[in-house]
């Protein structure tokens, strides 16, 4: 079922306007990353061709999620969470890859407009938060996400072959958030975006892991009972083994 969904997503992208054979074509080696029992991270190959000169920048975005950032303060000698700011539509995953260092050929206005680079990300806090506090917590969110390996900027990672072809490996760590991702490729020439293409990617738990997770969240009570049955059975079995000795 997941395979079919991923394929449908890919087809949708292929028929979308702007994806026609133009100055830029790109695709992924896979449109589905399955998180199975042995999952330790995944590598997806992004490849494509351009119509000549220009630089390539790739932006990978995960699904949006609600993230709460908390700040610890010393309370009676102990570090405890005090202030908190919630960002409703923060990116769960964000990775930028470029063929060369971007400062030299990607104008700041463009980077700001397209949010290319972690310093250009802008998530809105929930409720009324003062600008200084909002910016502190916003920075903290990005720093924490970078530490998790969810946000990254990798310059010089896109290799260009003979001015026409390009390729890069998109790496997803073991703790990757699940959901529908978009991989956007920009062709930049003379400080302008000449062409862009968006490709979807589905990252999903499959098989046993997905079933367990689904059970736990959709049939929580039943899952709890099942967990208990397993535990009691295991306890009885262990006891039977002990007694034979």
């Amino acid at each position: 079922m997941l395979k079919r969904l991923a394929l449908a997503l890919a087809l949708l992208a292929a028929t979308a306007p702007g994806a026609r054979a133009g100055p830029l074509v790109a695709d992924l080696s896979e449109h589905l990353v399955a998180i199975t029992t042995g999952f330790t991270g995944a590598k997806v190959l992004l490849f494509g061709a351009t119509d000549g000169d220009g630089k390539v920048v790739v932006v990978v975005q995960g699904p949006r999620e609600t993230i709460t950032v908390r700040r610890k303060e010393r309370v009676a000698g102990v570090w405890a969470n005090r202030d908190a700011v919630t960002f409703d539509k923060a990116l769960s995953f964000y990775q930028v890859m470029a063929s060369e260092e971007m400062d030299e050929w990607l104008p700041l206005a463009l980077r700001e407009q397209q949010q290319i680079g972690v310093e250009y990300l802008a998530f809105k806090p929930r409720g009324e938060v003062g600008p200084a506090m909002a910016s502190d917590f916003h920075e903290a969110l990005i720093r924490n996400k970078q530490r998790l390996g969810h946000y990254d900027v990798l310059e010089g990672k896109v290799s260009i072959i003979g001015d026409r072809l390009f390729r890069t490996d998109v790496y997803f760590p073991a703790n990757v958030p699940t959901g529908i991702y978009t991989v956007e490729v920009f062709l930049v020439k003379d400080g302008e975006i000449k062409s862009a293409q968006k490709t979807p990617l589905l990252i999903s738990k499959t098989g046993f892991e997905a079933e367990v997770f689904r059970m736990a969240h959709e049939f929580s009570a039943l899952y709890g009972i099942a967990a208990l049955i397993i535990a009691v059975a295991a306890g009885l079995m262990a006891n039977a083994v002990f007694r034979k000795r």
Partner: protein, 305 residues
Amino acid sequence: MHIYLPIAELSVNVFVVLGLGAGVGMLSGIFGVGGGFLMTPLLIFLGVTPPVAVGTEANQIVAASVSGVLAHWRRGNVDFKMGAVLLIGGIVGSTFGVWLFSVLRELGQIDLVIRLSYVIFLGAVGAMMMVESLRALRRSRTQAGRGKLHQHNFLHGLPFKMRFRKSKLYISALLPLMVGVVVGVLAAIMGVGGGFIMVPAMIYLLGMPTTVVVGTSLFQIIFVTANATFLQATFNQTVDVVLAFLLLVGGVIGAQLGTTLGARLKGEQLRSLLALIVLAVCGKMAFDLLATPLDVYSITLAGGH
């Protein structure tokens, strides 16, 4: 070999988890304790979030207690009447504990409360055990005289007196009920069986004979941790069966080794060793609370996904 834990959402080495289960299982075999108070912090150190560590550990303790209680039952060392009264308190306490857990999690204070509970209770129990075992070591040399058998205080003036034949006690039912409630709350919040609190309480507060203490506390722990597991799974979705199962397999093997090893060591030595381990875990938790964190900001996903 790595395995992806579906609820903890973490990829871990199978052998590390099995080894952890075996190590803690071995200690519980040697000392006759549940080991929850060690396993939950170790899971947290491993990178499992505190809520998932607590919920999963409750599940594992169910299995460990089932296998433990049967051995005591066969020897007739379970006071079912006392167990039932403790249990009523335990169900009330653990239900309240799981509710409190959800509220604290919402407020972002659950990590702090879990760590603080560990520091306070492990510190107190560890220090008491240390003093006790040192005193016992000294006494074994000097042969001091015995004190009074029972001390009478206000606790014996409470109403609703009940007779517990197996424990040879005639005390107020409120006492074990209260002990049950307190242990139930701790079980839910700390992810422990609560034996390390209940056993001393049964001996010193209730005055139960030591022979029936362990069996009766195990009997109560099964149902209290089962209640906690069920409620954590239902309301917080923090029970990882895959992780629990791996810990369980390791635990069974470890306990087997531990029991034979424990039989070769002396009682007082064992107790002071256990006290040292308890104090070490307490120290680590206290350090985490007091040391300036790497980053004072932290992030959490609201409502999961």
